[in-house]
Amino acid sequence: MNDSLLFLIPLLPLFCAVINLLFGMRLPRLFAEVMAVTGVAGAFALTLLFWGHAEGDGSRAVLFTWLNSGTVDISFALNFDRLAAPMTLMVTGVATLIHLYAVGYMHEDDDYARFFALLNLFVFAMLAIVLADNLLVLFLGWEGVGLCSYGLIGFWYRKLENAKAGTKAFLVTRVGDVFLGIALLWLFALTGTLSINAINAQAAAISPGVVIVLSLLLLLGACGKSAQVPLMTWLADAMAGPTPVSALIHAATMVTAGVYLLCRFFPLVSLSAVAMTAITAIGAVTAIYAATCAMAQREIKRVLAYSTMSQVGYMFMAVGAGTVAGAMFHLLTHAFFKALLFMAAGCVIHLAGDENDIFKMGGLARRGPVELFWAFLAGAVCLAGLPLTGGFFSKDGILLALFTHPDPLYRVFWLIGVVTALLTAFYTFRLVYLVFAGDYRGTGHPHALPLLMRWPLWPLALLGLAGGLFNLPVFVGGGEALHHWYGTMAGREVAASHDVEWMLIGLAAAIAAAGWLAAHWRYRGYRPPLENPVSRFLLSGWQADALVDRLFVRPFTSMARFCSAGCDRALLDGTLDGLARLVSSWGRMLVQLTTGRLTTYLSAFAWGFLVLLGWFLLKLVNGGGH
């Protein structure tokens, strides 16, 4: 097949998005829904169809020249290679399921056309990131997903808080984008190209100091999109959006774009040990930070949001530890189980009568269909890392990579990873107990669950639980399929003795069990939430919002006020007005001479005469001097 047909993969969702945007409201609802699902499912099918193109060095497709000026020559070009292919498949696949789920989820909402258009547009933008051949196309997708995220978080725009959450998400991620933008400019200045492969190929020629800075810039860019410390504050608020959005954008795909970016530039980033350590450190800090926050959250989706940040932190640690395959492995399994958890959470919220607070739920295992409980539990055990689940294997791979890293500092990161795993298991089961165990504590009336909201959970549950098979480690009899698929792109070979591996697996299992037991002990019977400073601190995400407010937002607004009111109004306009007043006051003074009295006029005459005489005498004296 022609390589340029690859463009159909991203363009199909785009086409459906545009159709829905333009005509969605005029066409029957069914048509819009079918359009939306078809766009994504079609992309999924196409990805499968084109799978073979990814092997070897992958395939490149050029559509047309985008920008052309001087030495700048940037095209719309796609690169479908071994790194991109699984990601594409995951994005389109998960998106298809979520779209189906969304059809059910939105069936009472009248604004469905905008919703599906944005959702499809998002898939397009995400695919642009994944498939981008050059940084500018990647940037297009990068900003595009930000836009869709903005539009979808604020989807229910009538509540201003939702719109504000969307704005916040856009702005905070845009801060990250600036760093990515700087990296883009710098890379272009250094290499004269924006093609990612070309840049990676030339990376070795760049001086080490610059590589460190470039890597850190890319890292900061990734932090923005992936909600890593310090640009993490937006993700929890982003839960204001509809649940399918949270599942697709804020769990499975967009937030992992940062990880994907770092993997894409792994040949560049891995040149600098400092940068790699920084990536790991960011991941570690975020992982533990988010895990602590998740323990105190009261809203079900916020718990999941913090857990997402925490898990993405693991992926960063994986990249930092040098294993792209490990990072992508966790990325994939996480996408499955986290999407599952969100979708299940959406069902839970439906059943609880649009109640978000887990302390006002309980007993849902009996109130709702039992399959929901099992689906949620499947996601939860993956998240908690119970042995043999997909999450268990992928997380364990990362911990192994950290443990075996030659740099002793990575042991600290490993320790953080282990502690985080414990916390994760704890808050996951806290969630399960509070939602499903005991008696119902809320007052809401359950909505009926449409069929379309229920059955997409199963494929995901299956993928999540069995996700380990994708990259099953050798020592448990697996073939490390993913690792081999990536080949040269997989990063560092993580090698350890089987003893160490078994020891770590045992530890992981023990930790997961410990977390479960702790949660079991604490939450088996319902107890009201703790009200102490620590829990408030954790609930507010370590007061990060307040800190940002004080450090950035308030100085910015007062700067804005100064520029507008102080500088422009008072200083510049004041000066101008002052000048105008000054000139007209001269005018008034002069006009006062015109008194209307003849004697004044005559004396003016005389003054003029006197000046003449004076000048004349001066002339005479000077003339005499010569």
């Binding site: 000139v583 007209s584 001269w586 005018g587 008034r588 002069l590 006009v591 001479l593 015109t594 209307g596 003849l598 004044t600 006029y601 005559l602 003016a604 005459f605 003054w607 003029g608 005469f609 003449l612 005489l613 000048w615 004349f616 002339k619 005479l620 003339g623």
Partner: protein, 472 residues
Amino acid sequence: MSLIDLLALLPVLILAFGGTAILMVGAWYREPRPLLAGGIATALIGAVAAGMVPPPSLEIAGLFSAGGYARFFTILWALLAAAGLMVATRYIMEKRLGAGEYVSLVLYAAAGMALLSSATHLLGLFLALETFTLAFYILIASNRRCEMAAEAGLKYLLMGAVATGFMAFGIALIYASSGTLALPDAALRMTAAAGGLQPWGLLGWGLVLIAVGFKISLAPFHLWTPDVYQGAPAPVGGLLATGSKGAVVAALVGMLSLAGPVWHDLVDLLWLLAAVTMLAGALGALGQKNLKRLLAYSSVTHMGTLLVGLLCQNTEGLAATTFYVVVYAITSLGAFAVIASLADQRGEPMAFDEWRGLGYRHPVRSAVLVLILLSLAGLPGTAGFMAKFAVFQAALQSGYLGLVLIGVFASVVSFAFYLRVAMLLFQPEAPAVQRHAGTAPEHAVVAVCTAAVLVFGLFPGILFDLIGRLLP
């Protein structure tokens, strides 16, 4: 005086004798229309005579020139008189003034101005100046029912008399120091004069300058201007603003082109005068609430700018000044013609309140007034811009950067007050009352002036070429 001289003087004679004839007829025959028509015809014939009848000699009795330059201004002032009469028709009839007297006075004034522009001798200069000044004394106060006109007449008269005193004494001193009244010599011989007398001559020129300063409203001799403009009826004001000033400047240009060196000694004084005048006019106009007073102050600025051109002491500057004078005369006349055409039984619209929103009642004339004001301000595309451009160009060439910058500042201020009037005219909230629709002659004058403003703005080459050929 020989026949040749008389023939050379023909245009002026037509104006003067025509005026006298109309005065006589008017004593018996009081119907204004024919008298005015006769006056207009006389002025036009005078203009035609100046244009068509070639002078047998270029010099008249050693007092006046009959060269191209003189003839050009003779035509201009005669046409101006005709226009002035056309604009004045309704005024005369409504106020029941003596048409004969009015017409003859305007024609006399035109004759005086024509003579002044062609004077080559201090005696001729003095006589011509007095001729039209006397006519104006009467014209300004011609409406006996108007309080302001009387006051304006008094002010102009007394100030004018004092100026005459300065003028006469100045000329006397020049004569004393140089021994001649003929123009190039009076100035040229001064440098060669016996040491003791030279300063007297210079003082004499200074005194003449003061008198001239009064006539063309240079600061600080300008204070009468707003009062007189306001008090004089618009048709007279139009003549006063254009002809009386223009003729003096034309005479100055003629004098300068003949007698350059003396100005050398006066340069610093003229520099100061020009600067002060430009500023005083512009700033004075800024706070005005009366259009005629505003025009008065604006004329002060313009005269300051003219002086800059005169200061340049080269053909470039003189050509620029001449161009400026012509353009200013036409533009200014247009402004006064618009005012006169709007006058009705309430009088002329003067106070800003009367102008507010007038653009919606009389769109064409208001638009024309805006165009004229913009030309006065110096908007490119209008004649006023080319005039300013020429003067600034000449001044920069002569190295008067300081004056140019002052002129620029004055221009900015000018734009401010002209535009305020323009805004006033088209201010939507308060539509003004309906004013007079104007008569055909008034419209004709306005139309001609407007056309001239545009033509000389877009194709100034016509006028420049003419001036280039005429300058002595």
